[in-house]
């Protein structure tokens, strides 16, 4: 592998929160192994630990990020499949220049729409995708968009309020 020429090495290029990354595929600790999930790459390789892994089995929704605008389970997505994609994670929602929060983030704060907070980044990402596609959701729309998200503390009721409030303020 190390004798391979630079240009022969397989590379995966994608953007995360607007920042371009080009990562080598390989089995060294600094490389992307073919078995690495996007969740693993985001957290362990890029240090973006805001994306949480609750089950690593594609069942709890906590690792949800946006890929080209759609919510995906980053624990069920292989990084080698992400070439050319645009990824948005929870770290990408706050305006870096102004520090202004996304309306969803503000609404989650205002409604204390979390308890332990571990499921929150995934829920916010799924809700963001919902509001982009449907800026005027009703309660049922919100529940359906978040149906795959597990929260054991039961923040659900406050989350629904927060998403509806964010939608209302965003109009």
């Amino acid at each position: 592998m190390s004798s391979m020429k630079e240009e022969d090495r397989e590379k995966i290029a994608f953007t995360v929160n607007g920042v371009s990354y080009e990562l080598e595929v390989g089995n060294q600790p600094y490389q992307i192994a073919p078995s690495h999930t996007l969740a693993h790459t985001l957290r362990e390789t890029l240090g973006l630990t805001g994306t949480k892994v609750g089950c690593d089995q594609g069942a709890c929704g906590s690792c949800t990020v946006l890929m080209d605008g759609d919510p995906v389970l980053s624990c069920m997505t292989l990084t080698v499949e992400c070439h050319g994609r645009s990824i948005i994670t929870i770290e990408g929602l706050q305006d870096r220049q102004t520090g202004k929060l996304n309306p969803l983030q503000q609404a989650f704060i205002d409604n204390t729409a979390f308890q332990c907070g571990f499921c929150t980044p995934g829920m916010i990402m799924a809700a963001k995708s919902l509001l982009e596609k449907n800026p005027t959701p009703n309660k049922q729309d919100v529940k359906e968009a978040l149906a795959g998200h597990y929260c054991r503390c039961i923040s659900h009721y406050h989350v629904v309020e927060a998403v509806l409030e964010a939608a209302k303020k965003g109009r």
């Binding site: 630990t49 805001g50 949480k52 089995q57 332990c116 978040l146 597990y150 054991r152 503390c153 039961i154």
Partner: protein, 759 residues
């Protein structure tokens, strides 16, 4: 009530809200340390076996492996009560029991190394049933505990620790009863509290005797003051990260800590052990199994005359908190049932499945959920309205009970009758309750029914708390208290209490990270003790610091300290608020004012929750739909409305109400394997199945707390399971008593399936 307060009772953002919504909140999985190694565990495929041969050389030879440990070379540390569970043993006692542990440069290498360990087992017969396990010829799990009976005469809470409820004369009590109900019922789902985040620990030895432990746990001090005694008393510094949910289960994490610390010891490097979800399901902690074989006598007016029977408590392979749960369960049963004659004995039994640990409800939920079918049978026989029965029998001020440490306490709390009545009115109980085994409504194949349950706990004032509050010259205050944030919002609520004492904006109140090196002793956030126990220590510390500040200011303002007031960082004579001096003016810039507060245990103030539920049962499919939950309580004074509401919503999570409907760990008794240890097959309630949920929260001031408050969060899960059995029975017109009420059980109860029937 909260009108008189500036912060208490007001909706304020959680102090950690910004971190949580931006992904900056740091959990144990997010942390790395220089030179970090990753630990993995090889687990047993058999429920009961001796390891006859174990070879690790191939595993050790794998590039990137730093250490492989087996029972032969691990440190001699032990957990369990009494301390008998080693880090690794020659014997395995459940499918998933640890066989060997590996530390490697990456988690992947560690996993690969596990596959290279060669193990030969001699299988032993397993036992899974709590009553079979205590037969003389049953397979024995632990050599020291014949018939698999774990000792109950352990001084968990001192020499008189409660392990049974025996008082009065039960024979006389049953003679006086108008009706007697008896039977054997179980609450043996061994459901998983299943916080979203699996447990994790990082351990690093600073020198031979000094260990630093980072973890995402609920009680930051336990990894020091409890684990020290299990590990030969090293000097442990325990640091907590944000905790991704616990519900008691991650109060602490003795085995993950053992593994990380053992691997760290032999490698001389920090080691991180984070359980996978499968391990979290199959090798961490479950609810206790609970079975009650006994009888209850009551009079037609609802007076309970006698309770007798045996409470079988199944710990699984071991437990390091079960005796404490038995003690609290015995106490809570007395709060629920005023009765002069008791003969409630207990058997604490181990069986060949993964361990039980602490779960919200802490013994009481387990005992009461098993008692509930017998209690409802008695109420039904006596034609009593359960709401009236509970109101009559829940402990009242002036009445007493033996609590966990064996002392008799007289309640100086409140009479919750008003909360019960308010809840019943809001739910429409009188309109919906049609009598025993009578549906509220029938709509074709769908039948609606209602049920009710209660729970109370006198642990709101349990154990010790200490806090410092430091006032800084820049008019900020720092609270030193060793609590972590696992979801209850208590770190913020404590800031609100201090802000109220100091009349300082919330943004000017800071709270130290949970770190035993920084903070004084704090037992932790368990048993709804955050408000009364921890809160009182923080309040006392804030008052003490404030007093010292006013004493410094007094000569400068030419007044006595008691004539002074402080608000928003200004100190002034009460009659002249406009002529104030700043905190730095009073104390100078090279000084701080430190106050100290300490809380001593007080078991005289029980909390309480009543829960009403409405279900709709589809008699064709057997599906039960939980349509409405209404909880009612009196908390004296709300500290933080949204946090409290969230804690009460928690009834639907953490192996609570849904243990009556679909939550269970399914143990295959032919192989010992759990069949549903993943988040697809272990059922959980989604957003689409949320019932209508209301909380009726009264605020009748309680004199025991400066802000007249009492905590209630822990018990939200406990009244529900029994209430759901009652509601489904009423909907069907047939008594159902087997948790969880999955469709097969409903159809069987309706005679639609079972012997000789097909669906």
């Amino acid at each position: 009530m909260s009108k008189e307060y500036r912060f208490i009772g007001k909706r304020t953002p959680r102090k950690d809200a910004l971190e949580i919504v931006t992904g900056k909140a740091t959990y144990i999985g997010d942390i790395k340390k220089p030179e970090l190694l990753y630990g993995k565990i090889l687990r047993s495929p058999y429920p009961h076996a001796e390891i006859t041969r174990i070879k690790t050389d191939k595993s050790e030879a794998l590039h990137g492996v730093a250490a492989v440990l087996t029972y032969k070379n691990v440190p001699d540390w032990r957990t369990g009560i009494p301390r008998h569970v080693p880090v690794l043993d020659r014997k395995v006692r459940f499918v998933g029991d640890a066989v060997a542990i590996v530390a490697a440069e990456t988690a992947e290498i560690a996993s690969e190394a596990l596959d290279l360990i060669e193990v030969e087992y001699e299988q032993l017969p397993p036992v899974y049933d709590v009553e079979e396990a205590i037969e003389p010829d049953a397979p024995q799990l632990h050599a020291d505990f014949p018939r698999n009976l774990m000792p109950l005469d352990i001084p968990t809470f001192g020499p008189k620790t409660l392990s049974e409820v025996v008082m009065g004369d039960v024979e006389k009590g049953f003679d006086e009863a108008d009706v007697i109900a008896e039977g054997t019922y179980g609450y043996e789902n061994i459901a998983n509290p299943l916080p979203i985040e699996p447990p994790g620990v990082i351990a690093r030895w600073e020198d031979e005797n000094r260990l630093t432990v980072w973890s995402g746990t609920q009680c930051a001090s336990w990894h020091r003051f409890i684990m020290q005694s299990k590990m030969g008393f090293p000097d442990i510094r325990a640091i907590d990260t944000q905790c991704g949910g616990s519900f008691g289960s991650k109060n602490y994490a003795p085995l993950p800590l053992f593994y990380a610390a053992a691997l760290a010891k032999v490698t001389g490097r920090p080691v991180k052990v984070c359980f996978t979800k499968e391990e979290h399901f199959g090798a961490f902690v479950l609810r206790l199994g609970s079975r009650f074989r006994g009888k209850i006598g009551i009079k037609k007016d609802g007076t309970v005359t006698a309770v007798s029977g045996v409470w079988f408590v199944d710990t699984g392979a071991f437990s390091d908190m079960a005796q404490a749960q038995v003690a609290v369960g015995c106490g809570e049963a007395q709060l629920m049932l005023r009765c002069p004659n008791w003969d409630l004995r207990t058997r604490l039994v181990c069986t060949n499945r993964s361990a039980s640990g602490v779960v919200r409800g802490f013994g009481g939920q387990e005992l009461e959920s098993a008692l509930s079918p017998i209690l409802t049978m008695a109420m039904e026989k006596a034609s009593l309205d359960p709401v009236e029965f509970f109101k009559k029998n829940y402990v009242k001020p002036g009445e007493g009970y033996f609590w966990r440490e064996g002392n008799y306490w007289v309640s100086r709390g409140r009479d919750y009758s008003e909360a019960i009545d308010s809840g019943a009115r809001a739910f429409g109980w009188n309109e919906k309750w049609k009598g025993w085994l009578k549906p509220t409504a029938v709509n074709g194949a769908k039948r609606t029914g209602v049920g009710v349950g209660i729970h109370g706990n006198a642990d709101v004032g349990e154990d010790e708390s200490e806090a410092y509050v430091r006032l800084n010259p820049d008019a900020t205050a720092t609270i030193y208290v060793n609590i972590s944030e696992s979801g209850m919002g208590q770190r913020s609520s404590l800031c609100k209490m201090a802000a109220e004492v100091l009349q300082l904006p919330l943004a000017r109140i800071h709270i130290t990270p949970a770190d035993t090196m920084v903070n004084p002793f704090e037992f932790g956030l368990v048993g709804s003790r955050g408000t009364y126990a921890v809160g009182s220590a923080v309040i006392e510390a804030a008052e003490d610091a404030r007093q010292k500040l006013l004493e410094l200011a007094a000569p400068k303002l030419e007044a006595a300290p008691e004539d002074l007031e402080t608000r928003d960082g200004s100190i002034y004579r009460k009659e002249r608020p406009e002529a104030g001096i700043s905190w730095s003016g009073a104390m100078g810039i090279m000084r701080t004012c430190m106050g100290f507060g300490r809380f001593e245990p007080d078991y005289s103030v029980p909390n309480f929750l009543i829960q009403f539920v409405e279900v709709e049962v589809d008699t064709e499919t057997g599906r039960v739909d939980l349509r409405q939950v209404l909880s009612a309580t009196d908390v004296g004074q709300i500290i933080d409305p949204l946090s409290l509401e969230g804690q009460l919503h928690g009834a639907l999570g953490s192996a609570g109400i849904d243990t009556a409907l679909f939550e269970e760990s399914i143990l295959d008794r032919t192989t010992g394997h759990m069949l549903n240890i993943n988040m697809i097959d272990y059922k959980w309630r989604t957003f689409l199945e949320l019932p209508r949920f209301e909380n009726v929260i009264l605020e009748t001031p309680l004199p025991t707390h400066r802000f007249k408050a009492i905590g209630v969060g822990e018990i939200a899960t406990s009244p529900g399971p029994g209430a759901v059995l009652m509601a489904v029975s009423n909907a069907l017109g047939v008594k159902v008593s087997e948790y969880p009420l999955t469709p097969d059980k409903i159809l069987r109860a309706l005679g639609k399936t079972g012997r000789g029937k097909t669906v």
